[in-house]
């Protein structure tokens, strides 16, 4: 909350909920943002809705959608003697194709792993360690890709030869289209990720109108998530499929042009693998030719094509919204936040972690 901003009163929130709950058709509403997943569980929003309104979590947690193929590659990279891995904290405990393939374990074996708060910290680490190759793990959707772009440009301006990026940034539109086209899912509305929308704007979600899919861009406070659901229900009732933006205090119709320009002049779109979903056309961002000297994959290409995980983890199905976390046989028994088997339980943004933490099952 910003200073001076007032949260809606409970009386108003209850009125909005009353309107939402007057809708009795069976519907599936999907959110595609780890912070929404958490907010919905934390505020108990599921239990405030009638049982026909089914809130499902989609592939909105960047760490969770990163496939084993990439996680194994990062693990191997971290064990190279002259490499320092600079990463956001979320990646440190995520296992690859085997439970022991985590950066945490690599660190115990002597790997040099540095947790960073910002991509710029990684550039500083490269400057301070000229004899090491510093690899920044560029992860996240449109919200964090511009930060990676700025770091690469800064490294270029400084003439750094030892700064690299493993770019595993992903775009939300291609995967949302794929999920909408999956008839077994039947998504009736999207709660659009507020901070991706800050970058791509309302425009970035207008493609949902092609599918007659009601959607609203939502913030992350309790009332903001409920506002988002309100607009989707209102759109469903009124058969009005125009994207709604109740998060207009931050999200502009055209988005953040500086951020969009950085993305488009630093990266190229590539077909990219997603956990549980497979390869999604033009859904990944890799550094373009102008910045290829910073692309760690040019120096150490990924040689493995596929990895198999046979430990019963259902993260893939959960990310598609086909299973709820508590429907996985491992959930809460073998797989807990203390002993996570899959990424959806490891990451604080993962839906398994949110379900477990707030016991919303």
């Amino acid at each position: 909350m910003f200073a001076g901003e007032k949260m809606r009163s409970m009386k108003e929130i209850n009125k909005i909920l009353e309107y939402i709950n007057s809708f009795h058709e069976k519907i599936n509403l999907m959110e595609v943002c780890g912070t929404h997943t958490n907010a919905i569980s934390k505020f108990g929003i599921r239990s405030a809705l009638n049982k026909n309104i089914n809130l499902i979590s989609g592939p909105g947690c960047p760490v969770c959608v990163t496939p084993d193929l990439y996680l194994d590659y990062i693990y191997d990279l971290s064990l190279k003697e002259d490499v320092i891995i600079a990463t956001y904290g979320d990646m440190i405990r995520v296992p690859g194709s085997l439970p022991n393939l985590t950066l945490e374990n690599a660190k115990a074996k002597g790997a040099n792993i540095k947790m960073v708060y910002s991509s710029m910290d990684a550039v500083n680490i490269a400057e301070e360690n000229p004899l090491k190759k510093v690899v920044f793990l560029g992860i996240g959707f449109e919200t964090t890709a511009p930060a990676t772009a700025v770091a690469v440009k800064e490294a270029k301006a400084k003439g750094l030869k030892n700064f690299f990026v493993f770019s595993i940034h992903k775009l939300v539109e291609p995967v949302m289209r794929l999920l909408l086209e999956d008839e077994s899912l039947k998504i009736n509305g999207f709660i659009c990720p507020g901070h991706v929308a800050v970058v791509v704007g309302e425009k970035g979600f207008e493609f949902l109108e092609e599918y007659n899919c009601p959607s609203a861009i939502a913030g992350f406070e309790m009332d903001e998530v409920i506002d988002g659901i309100f607009y989707i229900i209102k759109s469903l009732k009124e058969k009005d499929y125009k994207i709604k933006n109740p998060y207009s205090k931050l999200v502009k119709p055209e988005g953040n042009l500086a951020a969009l320009t950085l993305i488009s002049n630093t990266f190229i779109k590539v077909d990219d693998p997603w956990r549980g979903i497979g390869t999604v056309s033009k859904s990944g961002l890799k550094l373009n030719d102008e910045y290829k000297e910073f692309d760690i994959e040019k120096l150490y290409p990924i040689t493995v094509k596929n990895t198999n995980r046979n430990n019963g983890c259902q993260c893939g199905e959960i990310l598609k919204g086909k299973l709820r976390p508590n429907e996985c046989p491992l959930f809460g028994k073998v797989c807990t936040p203390e002993n996570p088997i899959g990424p959806c339980m490891v990451s604080g943004e993962g839906s398994c972690s949110a379900y477990y933490k707030y016991s919303t099952f």
């Binding site: 809606r8 909005i16 910290d121 205090k249 931050l250 953040n256």
Partner: protein
């Protein structure tokens, strides 16, 4: 990493700024923000301000209540 932090800008130096929340100060990058001023509120992700808060819009909490009343009327 997608968790945003709203910070108030207290210092600006080129592409860097100091943002503050409840007395805690943090150095951030402001490459993505145009015409930033001291006192502006920004949403910060992974060390980067991603947008300025539009205060006029944030203070309009009444807006949705009017829409709700309209929606309920149409519903009947």
């Amino acid at each position: 990493m997608c968790l945003g932090l709203p910070l108030k800008i207290v210092e600006i130096e080129n592409k860097e700024a100091i943002g503050e929340l409840n007395g805690v100060k943090r150095k951030i990058r402001v490459d993505l923000i145009e015409n930033l001023k001291i006192g502006d509120f920004v949403m910060v992700h992974a060390g980067f301000a991603i947008e300025k808060l539009d205060e006029s819009s944030a203070l309009e909490t009444l807006d949705i209540v009017n829409e709700l009343e309209e929606a309920v009327k149409n519903d009947k």
